[in-house]
């Protein structure tokens, strides 16, 4: 199994295991650096993503520059903002989500113009911010899509409207216990076209979800999503494509319905207040080189940021990636990061009131 973005902390076995592993791995990694400057800390969402970033980015980077890299997980916005607040940033590269980066745009350094060798090679996600921003360069991307078990009869939903209509296709729906992406697909299911999605009508989305609540089971982390799909708790799921791909490659009878997939991606950024920002920018530049972006995509399951890097992925596996031509053209659009940056807290509150109240 690869990747586990947003494996929301201790709830997941993988996170705990990897934290323990990286705690050991970090010290040995530190000593292997050949005096090329201070140690950088890379923060991932944990699980096997951590191992993926280590082997595909951290270790080759150390080999190439001599700058040692320590891995840690999981990403924790509370901890990061505490570092910012106390002016003591020790997390130099973090696998942030895009909305957080847009919400805190003023924290990031302007990247040098040569951060990527060929900006036109970068993949543009439909309806999303441009992949190259003054403060960041597209990191990886993924999609929210319909996942289904292939071993059940009676077909599977081919649109979000069908996904949220258990009267037509009976069976539980496994969904994310978090509004990000869920609000969008609920509105799509309720008949709102993509170009009229934003600003999101959160109340309408929640009442749509509430109307089918008895058919929903919830997952909190990628590990739980995978557990529910594997155990057959639900035949259909609102899923991150990379998590389903990891199951599919391991022989679990699951597939992705790419129709109306909702794309999303983040950026690689470095903080102005980070004493090691120059080394962090070097790491960003290194990771954006197509052959390194390919390795990162293969190791983590996220889509690479450039067309050249995508071509480096074995063609047999490319269909699992959301930026593969067919999947990109099946996409309904992308998450509007600016909307989420502006409305994150209020939306979370409404979601919690509904989901956990």
């Amino acid at each position: 199994m690869t990747t586990s973005r947003r494996t929301f902390l201790m709830g997941s076995l993988g996170v705990a295991a990897t934290s323990a592993l990286t705690a050991c791995g970090g010290s040995s990694g530190g000593s292997s650096g050949s005096g090329g400057g201070q140690e950088l800390t890379m923060v991932t969402w944990g699980g096997t993503t951590d191992a993926g970033f280590k082997s595909a980015v951290a270790e080759p980077f150390t080999k190439s520059t001599g700058i040692p890299v320590r891995m840690t997980s999981p990403v924790d916005y509370g901890k990061y903002l505490a570092q910012v607040k106390n002016k003591r940033i020790t997390w130099n590269w973090v696998d942030f989500e895009g909305w957080f980066e847009v919400q805190h745009k003023d924290l990031w350094v302007d990247l040098p113009s040569d951060i990527v060798s060929n900006p036109s090679d970068l993949i543009e996600l439909p309806g999303a911010l441009k992949p190259l921003q003054p403060w960041g360069v597209a990191s990886g991307s993924y999609s929210f899509a319909i996942a289904y078990r292939t071993d059940q009869s009676g077909g599977h939903p081919t649109s979000w409207a069908e996904f949220f209509d258990p009267s037509q296709l009976p069976g539980k729906r496994s969904v994310y216990n978090w509004p990000y992406g869920m609000i969008e697909v609920a509105l799509l299911a309720d008949g709102v076209p993509y170009d009229q999605l934003y600003p999101l009508d959160v109340d309408r989305a929640i009442s749509k979800l509430d109307s089918v609540r008895s058919s929903l089971v919830f997952w909190n982390s990628g590990a739980e999503l995978q557990q529910q799909l594997t155990a057959g708790t639900a035949p259909f799921a609102f899923a991150w494509n990379n998590r389903v791909a990891a199951l599919g490659k391991n022989g679990v009878p699951v597939e992705i319905e790419w129709a109306e997939n909702l794309q999303d991606g983040g950026y690689d950024v470095a903080a102005k207040a980070d004493p090691l920002r120059e080394e962090a920018v070097k790491l960003i530049k290194f990771a954006a080189e197509p052959k390194n972006a390919t390795a990162r995509a293969i190791a983590t399951g996220y889509s690479p940021n450039s067309k050249t890097a995508l071509q480096g992925i074995p063609s047999a596996d490319r269909h699992w990636y959301n930026v593969d031509d067919a999947n990109l053209s099946a996409a309904v659009g992308s998450i509007n990061l600016q909307w989420w940056a502006d409305n994150f807290d209020a939306t979370i509150k409404k979601w919690n009131d509904w989901a956990s109240g």
Partner: protein
């Protein structure tokens, strides 16, 4: 009776037994200094700083505490946490009490087996246990299939339900309950129940009027440990429960780590600590009362 409350008092408050151990030579008490200093530096001070966020985070003042106490969601979740903790405590007591009595009064060999089994469960991390329950209680799990075969349950099982969450929590609570009660059962003078029955008391009356009162300190200690730990559970409701089983620990974590709403998170943490301290306070009062009565 003072000997019975001593272990509970020291173990529960989580503090060195400086006040209880009055018979120890003076110098020995100084030995707690390093541990106390360490606790103060790495636990008490950061905890106070954290809790201070509940009044210092903008908007400063009592805003966050007010929200924690009055917002429908936080009230629902606080109430739910207390209710679930109470249910788990009662169930753990019903299961743990007979187990502890049997373990205390059986032969040494069976006692070793019974207590060994209880002790073993403490070796497994809560995460492993939570996922194990998910597999056992979930779709296609053995418990689900067995219940379904007996026409006692649906095919979807108890994973992601309140019942499943409570089962998993009770399994966590029973060992603490058993160990606390076992300790007090072992302290009962075997002549007392014997004297009662010789004098014509029925088995029930011997239990009700002789054994039970003597086990009360253990029952109280076990109940308070189970109640307070359950109150703060994070992993079990997160893994085994559904969103409507969310407890206060999850809400705090979510507010701090994901919503980065430190003020509300800290206010909720403050309330959790206050509720826990209040439980200890009630427990202390009850044991003092009990001491005075006996």
């Amino acid at each position: 009776m003072s000997i019975q409350t001593a272990p509970a008092g020291t173990g529960l408050a989580g503090q060195p037994a400086t006040t209880a151990g009055t018979s120890q030579p003076r110098g020995v008490n100084l030995l707690v200094l390093p541990a106390t200093l360490l606790l103060l530096l790495v636990f008490v001070v950061p905890a106070i700083l954290m809790l201070a966020y509940s009044v210092t985070e903008p908007p400063a003042g009592l805003h966050h505490l007010h929200e924690a106490l009055t917002a429908p969601l936080t009230r629902t979740i606080l109430l739910r946490s207390v209710t679930v903790a109470a249910e788990v405590t009662v169930l753990s007591l019903l299961l743990g009490l007979p187990f502890a009595m049997i373990a205390a009064e059986t032969s040494a060999k069976y006692r070793a087996v019974l207590l060994g089994a209880i002790g073993c469960t403490l070796f497994f991390s809560v995460i492993v246990r939570a996922y194990a329950w998910l597999a056992l209680l979930g779709t296609n799990g053995p418990v689900t299939d067995a219940l379904h075969a007996l026409h006692l349950g649906s095919t979807t099982g108890y994973a992601h339900t309140r019942v499943g969450t409570i089962i998993a929590m009770v399994q966590y609570g029973v060992p603490y309950m058993v160990l606390a009660i076992y300790d007090s059962v072992r302290r009962i003078d075997p002549q007392l129940p014997k004297a009662a029955s010789v004098n014509g008391a029925s088995a029930f009356n011997t239990f009700r009027w002789v054994r039970l009162p003597l086990m009360l300190p253990g029952i109280a200690a076990g109940s308070i440990i189970v109640f307070v730990t359950t109150l703060g559970y994070y992993v079990i409701p997160q893994v085994v429960g559904s969103p409507t089983d969310m407890m206060i620990g999850q809400l705090i974590s979510q507010q701090i780590n994901q919503a980065t709403n430190w003020g509300l998170g800290a206010a909720l943490a403050t309330l959790l600590i206050l509720v826990s301290l209040a439980c200890f306070g009630i427990f202390r009062m009850l044991t003092r009362l009990e001491n005075r009565l006996s």
